[in-house]
């Protein structure tokens, strides 16, 4: 409760009314104060979560049966036992160190930005492999998420405003689309638009034989290949945005200030967008910030169905081949992005809604 000082009932005689100001001035002054305890609490939580995630990440592969070298050997028969041992020590799989020592080493390597090498991708550094896949995922899924959020929120505001009309039917429809499993929707889209109608190519990010470059032809290819995945993501995630916005609109439209705005003859457009939607959008913005985090990790299925060369497909391939270094790296990147998105969500919410700062601080 440090953010807003209670307004003194009687201004003290030494200060005149102009200096003390109204309640609004008090709030405005309180807003500039930084809620340090609140910030420290959040920072502590994120550091703890980061530590927990990295520790889980360390232990996961060590709990798994079989190791990457065994898998590698079964694929490449002409590797001598000495070479296999060398590989093991290169990958940090030699077990003559204690678990604690391995854990300390892991942290040391991590802080230096060394995520190890990937067996699956010809011993290239994991960071390099991931940074190659990341732009594809972030570009496609990020674009689809923004589009879905925009359509869903604006649509939800309109549906909530025209409550009781035929537009209410949109809600069950979009909910239906978000309850069917995504991979099935994607496969149906491929069967219909790629196989039967032949409008879009089947999977991959660009045509066979192309190399990534900044040319009109290549960009056209990427758009052509990305349309179907992006459209299915938008369809599948639209329902949540629309339902959330519509439910908030119905609650906000019952507030007195909306009625006052209408009663004083304000145009409906202004009441809808400046009064009702502006307040109803707050929880939406927080969920949007959270969904940014799931852009990286939440679309493993999309990348599998459309064989899109992104981070999710990397994780699946790494899991199947027991390529621990790559698996750990991908999981770390996914967790980090979720954490960063949570920080963003916190900041956005504290910035937009002063009430959170007051109650939490």
């Amino acid at each position: 409760m440090t953010a807003v000082q209670p307004h003194p009932a009687e201004p003290s005689p030494t200060r005149d009314a102009l200096e003390v100001g109204t309640t609004a001035t008090t709030v405005a002054r309180g807003r500039s104060r930084v809620p340090w305890r609140f910030l420290a609490g959040r920072a502590g939580f994120y550091l703890f979560t980061l530590w927990a995630a990295i520790t889980i990440n360390f232990f996961l592969p060590r709990m798994m049966k079989g190791d990457a070298v065994d898998q590698y050997l079964s694929r490449n028969r002409n590797v001598s036992p000495e070479a296999a041992d060398a590989l093991r020590s290169l990958l940090g799989l030699d077990t003559d160190k204690s678990l604690l020592q391995q854990y300390v080493d892991y942290w040391g390597l991590l802080l230096r930005g060394d995520l190890g090498v990937s067996l699956l991708h010809g011993l290239r550094p994991v960071t390099e492999v991931i940074s190659q896949a990341l732009p594809w995922t972030v570009g496609l899924v990020g674009f689809a998420t923004v589009v879905s959020f925009a359509i869903g929120t604006i649509g939800g505001a309109v549906v909530g405003w025209r409550r009781g009309s035929r537009l209410d039917g949109l809600i069950p429809l979009t909910t239906f689309l978000s309850t069917i499993p995504y991979f099935w929707l994607g496969l149906l889209a491929i069967a219909l638009f790629s196989v039967t109608l032949g409008w879009f190519p089947i999977g991959k990010a660009y045509g066979v034989g192309m190399t990534p470059e900044w040319s009109a032809e290549f960009v056209g290819q990427v758009i052509h290949h990305g349309t179907l995945p992006a459209a299915t993501i938008v369809l599948a995630s639209l329902g949540g945005w629309m339902l959330g916005m519509r439910n908030m609109m119905l609650t906000v439209l019952d507030e007195d200030y909306v009625m006052v705005a209408q009663a004083k003859g304000m145009p409906n457009r202004r009441v809808l967008w400046r009064y009702a939607a502006r307040n109803a959008v707050l929880p939406q913005i927080q969920s949007f910030a959270l969904s940014i985090g799931f852009i990286v990790g939440g679309t493993i299925v999309m990348e599998m169905v459309f064989s899109y060369p992104g981070v999710g497909k990397l994780l699946l391939d790494a899991t199947n081949a027991k390529d621990y270094a790559l698996m750990q790296g991908v999981f770390l990147v996914i967790t980090l992005s979720v954490l960063v998105a949570n920080v963003l969500a916190d900041v956005a919410y504290a910035f937009l809604d002063p009430r959170t700062r007051q109650t939490e601080a």
């Binding site: 939580f45 703890f48 979560t49 927990a52 995630a53 889980i56 996961l60 709990m63 798994m64 049966k65 405003w161 025209r162 409550r163 009781g164 009309s165 209410d168 909910t175 239906f176 309850t179 069917i180 499993p181 995504y182 991979f183 099935w184 496969l187 149906l188 491929i190 069967a191 196989v195 039967t196 439910n247 119905l250 609650t251 439209l253 019952d254 009625m259 209408q262 009663a263 003859g265 304000m266 409906n268 799931f294 990790g297 939440g298 493993i300 299925v301 599998m304 994780l315 699946l316 899991t319 199947n320 698996m327 991908v330 999981f331 996914i334 967790t335 979720v338 954490l339 949570n342």
Partner: protein, 338 residues
């Protein structure tokens, strides 16, 4: 379905000799199920009940064994013998879908029961306690909320050669409880300061009684909503994992049927009888569960229902709900109602 049972029992209870105490039991039951007593929830429960029945009676209902191979009838479209056609090995798709229901229902409910129990314990305790214990439970919840579920499940499930259904349900439940716990904690914190809880504490009621008798009935709607949400998430998770192939394909559920269909190119050769029914079944269960949740939402927040009804009633009278003039009239009519 639960509602039907209860209304049948109701008259007996009323005519019973020990009426007063029984009526309270009935009233308690009634208020516990009040959130399901609307059209949306009942429709959802009926659809869900249908699938539960199919899962229970799978052996009786299925015309063939799901793994019965018939090399004379491969890739056959629907016919009188095979209502939903056959697979690449001549297996009956309808029988596979019926048997697949069992895995989906069992895993969905097991995972949701585990997740809900964890959510109730962690959420209510974290909401009731104060200080570092509450904070640390809350931090634990948030860690589970932040750690991405599907990648973790994929990694964990691939640790086992042949994971049994119970284990998959446990993994889905362990990764799915955090959201419910967070919601329950917030609600418990607000309940803790209400007068009736304060009064119970002043009366010297033991902790288990305050939580079990004073708080839990007020949390039922939230618990039900988080349970239903977890069932949906678990079913989607299970079918997705089965489709990806992380879960072995010899345990039948709708996801594994789709895995086989995808691997055999059914989607590319337009063998719709193979890939449409399992997907539609998942969608049907998903719709049923979200209908139940809509009903609970409208019970918790009556504005969601009344807003549409009021607007429709006004339109019948030739008024527009968003017209400023009618907005004034709404207040008068609402005032009459109240």
């Amino acid at each position: 379905m639960t509602t039907d049972l209860r209304t049948e029992q109701a008259p007996q209870v009323r005519t019973g000799p020990t009426a007063p105490p029984r009526v309270t039991v009935r009233a308690r039951l009634g208020s516990a199920f009040a959130m399901f007593r609307n059209r949306k929830s009942i429709t959802g429960l009926v659809i869900l009940g249908f699938f539960v029945l199919v899962a229970a009676l799978a052996d009786v209902l299925a015309p063939y064994s799901p793994t019965q191979v018939d090399h004379t009838a491969r890739f056959e479209p629907p016919s009188a013998e095979h209502w939903l056609g056959t697979t690449h090995l001549g297996e009956d798709v309808l029988s596979q879908v019926i048997h697949g229901t069992r895995g989906v229902i069992v895993v969905g409910f097991l995972a949701a029961i585990m997740a809900t129990i964890i959510a109730i314990v962690v959420g209510v305790v974290a909401g009731y306690l104060r200080g570092w214990r509450s904070e640390s439970l809350s931090a634990l919840t948030n860690v589970f909320l932040v750690i991405p579920g599907l990648p973790l499940i994929i990694i964990v499930a691939s640790m086992f050669e042949n994971p049994p259904l119970v284990l998959i349900a446990a993994v889905l439940g362990l990764t799915g409880w955090a959201w419910g716990a967070r919601v329950l904690r917030a609600q418990t914190m607000s309940l803790r300061n209400r007068d009736f809880v304060q009064a119970a504490r002043a009366n010297g009621e033991p902790l288990w009684r305050i939580i079990g008798h004073e708080m839990l009935p007020n949390l039922m709607a939230l618990i039900a909503a988080s349970f239903v949400g977890t069932v949906t998430a678990a079913i989607l998770g299970l079918t997705t994992l089965s489709y990806i192939g992380v879960i072995p394909v010899n345990t039948y559920n709708w996801g594994t049927i789709l895995n086989w269909a995808g691997a055999q190119g059914a989607f590319r050769q337009n063998q719709w009888w193979w890939f449409l029914p399992p997907g539609l079944c998942i969608a049907a269960i998903g719709v049923a569960l979200s209908l139940i949740n809509f009903g609970i939402d409208e019970y918790v927040n009556p504005r969601l229902r009344s807003a549409g009804e009021r607007a429709r009633a006004m339109r019948k009278r030739g008024l527009d709900v968003n017209d400023p003039v009618t907005a004034v009239r709404t207040t008068t009519s609402a005032g009459d109602d109240a």
